[in-house]
């Protein structure tokens, strides 16, 4: 039980409308990711749902109940913060048990739940340590443990992995995804990293300047971006945009081609340019190409590609892989 509905939720700080009005439906058990560039209001939206910020207007329903003005603790949500926000003066055990203690739960039941959570998160050996004695990944798990024990109707994650190093981030990403499969509880996850969004989400909400640009599954956003912003934001490296004559020939103001959707040749093709930087990763080759009379684009070739700085190269967008946009940036 953890369906969350936002109706015309608006949030302003003074004269500034951070969120001008959002409608959103999150189904029970869904893993929803809010993604967008920094300052797009994704964290604010999460904090509004959590109750840490008041809404300016609009309505928030959780499990069918109006929770717009309810205190954070009354909403039945648990939150994992970017900084972990562990209580430094308490042991791991006490940290995890804190919400249960606040709920005046029977101590035996508290112990049972803490041990269960510690077991799921591999924290059993660390229960008597303090947060200061743990590594970043372990701290993150304690923060998750503190959220799990409450058995909330939904979990809220605010950029939980951004303080971890790259390798650990990949591991924790998988762990959180597995946790979601295991618990089957609604999760709302905020990130600016579109890779996290693509790999974890059932549903992605792309935000820009407090407005929802598009809502959909990861591949839906990848294949059918609603506009130029979403097209450019989803996918790594970013989509290349070409305007002018090439676009006009295809009946569009601008066209977009993902780096992985170019056919490359050293002799002929639609677009010609000079290779600036060639990144040979073994599995892929990324070419930064300065097109003749055109913009700088990035193309990706699978496997190895024997070209280097200064080489001339021809690129042809693959059939059916060209996205067309009108002057307003909307997909055609």
């Amino acid at each position: 039980m953890g369906g969350i509905t936002l109706k015309q939720v608006r949030k302003s700080f003074g004269d500034i409308d951070v969120i001008p009005g959002v409608d959103l439906e999150i189904k029970d058990g869904e893993f929803v990711v809010f993604v967008g560039p920094s300052g797009c209001g994704k964290s604010t939206l999460l904090r509004v749902i959590a109750g840490l910020e008041d809404v300016t207007s609009g309505q928030i329903t959780i499990d069918g109940q109006d929770m717009t003005d309810a205190a954070p603790a009354k909403r039945g949500l648990a939150m994992v913060f970017q900084s972990y926000a562990l209580y430094p003066h308490m042991t791991v055990r006490k940290n995890i048990a804190f919400p249960l203690k606040m709920a005046r739960m029977d101590p035996a039941e508290q112990d049972r739940r803490v041990n269960h959570a510690a077991n799921i998160l591999n924290l059993t050996d660390y229960l008597d340590r303090r947060p200061g004695q743990l590594s970043g990944g372990q701290r993150q798990r304690v923060a998750i443990g503190r959220a799990i024990v409450r058995e909330p109707s939904a979990f809220l994650f605010d950029e939980p992995l951004s303080n971890l190093d790259a390798a650990l981030r990949v591991n924790m990403r998988v762990e959180i995804s597995e946790l979601h499969k295991k618990l089957a509880t609604t999760m709302i996850y905020v990130t600016h990293d579109q890779v996290e969004a693509m790999t974890m989400a059932d549903k992605i909400v792309v935000l820009r300047a407090g407005k929802v640009e598009q809502v959909g599954g990861p591949l839906e956003l990848y294949h059918k971006p609603a506009n130029r912003f979403v097209a450019g934001f989803i996918g790594s490296p970013n989509m290349n945009f070409l305007e002018g004559e090439v676009a006009a020939r295809m009946g569009a103001h601008a066209i977009g081609v993902r780096p992985e959707h170019f056919s490359m040749s050293t002799s002929q093709g639609l677009l010609s340019g000079v290779v600036g930087v060639a990144e040979h990763l073994g599995s892929d080759t990324f070419l930064h190409v300065d097109l003749d009379n055109g913009p700088h684009i990035i193309a990706r070739a699978a496997g190895e590609m024997p070209v280097n700085h200064g080489d001339r190269i021809w690129l042809t967008p693959q059939e059916g892989r060209v996205y067309r946009f009108d002057a307003k940036g909307l997909a055609l």
């Binding site: 840490l52 954070p72 648990a78 913060f81 926000a85 606040m102 503190r146």
Partner: protein
């Protein structure tokens, strides 16, 4: 490249540091030396070698019971400090975590009261004490000392609280903590080092307070600062006794300060140094 520190420069710095420390500490040292002299020696001119007579100490004790003002000092210093903390913790919490546009102004205004010369409000406070029967009472003086030091206590706690990340308090709120739980279980324990140094510094300030304690007490509530003063006027030129009284008055706070140096330094820097 790091500057090479030779043994010779080290010795030089050490000697210089001790010399400066000696100059600063000298008045206290000389008070201690004088307290160990006989009255005759004390008035006969400058000398660093006393006869180690404890006569003055027993004279002071027999003429004017030391333990009564000592007890008063402890009650006033500790009492006013605890009272100040009870008032200041919620105040500093509000200013640190729920600031408004005027918070900075309020802080400045509070501090500005410390810039006013105490003598300016002597008459009104004297009259208030007289009319309300608080004159020469421990309770009256405790409240007054609390009020005098409150701005500093609020300021210090405010700076310490500001160092506590707001997310931790938000986490507590998400975890179901009420405002009371939040302050008792999360904020206060996390701020213990800050609160401890505030407490220590405030105890010392209250212990050393002389202006109000001398003006508003006679015997009942007179703390050690008034006790020293009582030796200076009627006993005039009895330097050894005056010194003995001074030593007895400052010894407890000197010992406390010695043992809590670390906390105090943190306190004096107003939380600027982590």
């Amino acid at each position: 490249m790091a500057r090479a520190v030779t043994t010779r420069t080290k010795i030089g710095y050490t000697i210089a540091a001790w010399a400066v420390a000696l100059v600063i500490f000298f008045p206290i040292l000389y008070t201690i030396i004088t307290s160990l002299k006989t009255e005759q020696e004390a008035i006969s001119g400058f000398s660093l070698i006393p006869s180690f007579s404890t006569q003055s100490f027993s004279d002071v004790q027999s003429q004017n019971n030391y333990w009564r003002p000592f007890t008063n000092s402890v009650i006033l210093a500790v009492g006013s400090t605890l009272l100040a903390l009870v008032v200041a913790i919620p105040a500093a919490w509000a200013m640190a975590f729920s600031p408004t546009k005027r918070t900075k102004d309020i802080l400045m205004w509070m501090l500005s009261t410390k810039m006013m010369p105490a003598v300016a409000v002597l008459v009104p406070i004297y009259l208030i004490f007289l009319r309300t029967g608080l004159m020469d009472t421990r309770i009256g003086l405790t409240i007054l000392l609390m009020l005098i030091n409150l701005p500093i206590v609020v300021w210090m706690l405010y700076t310490y609280f500001r160092e506590i990340p707001g997310e931790i308090l938000e986490a507590a709120r998400m975890d179901g903590a009420s405002l009371r739980d939040e302050i008792i279980h999360v904020l206060t324990p996390m701020a213990v080092p800050g609160i401890a140094s505030t407490l220590l510094l405030n105890v010392i300030l209250a212990w050393n307070e002389a202006f109000w304690t001398i003006q508003l007490t006679t015997t009942n509530a007179a703390p050690l600062s008034a006790f020293i003063a009582s030796f200076s006027s009627p006993q005039g030129l009895f330097w050894a006794k005056l010194s003995a009284a001074s030593v007895m008055a400052i010894a407890p706070i000197l010992i406390l300060g010695w043992f809590s140096q670390k906390q105090l330094v943190r306190g004096l820097t107003f939380g600027a140094v982590k």
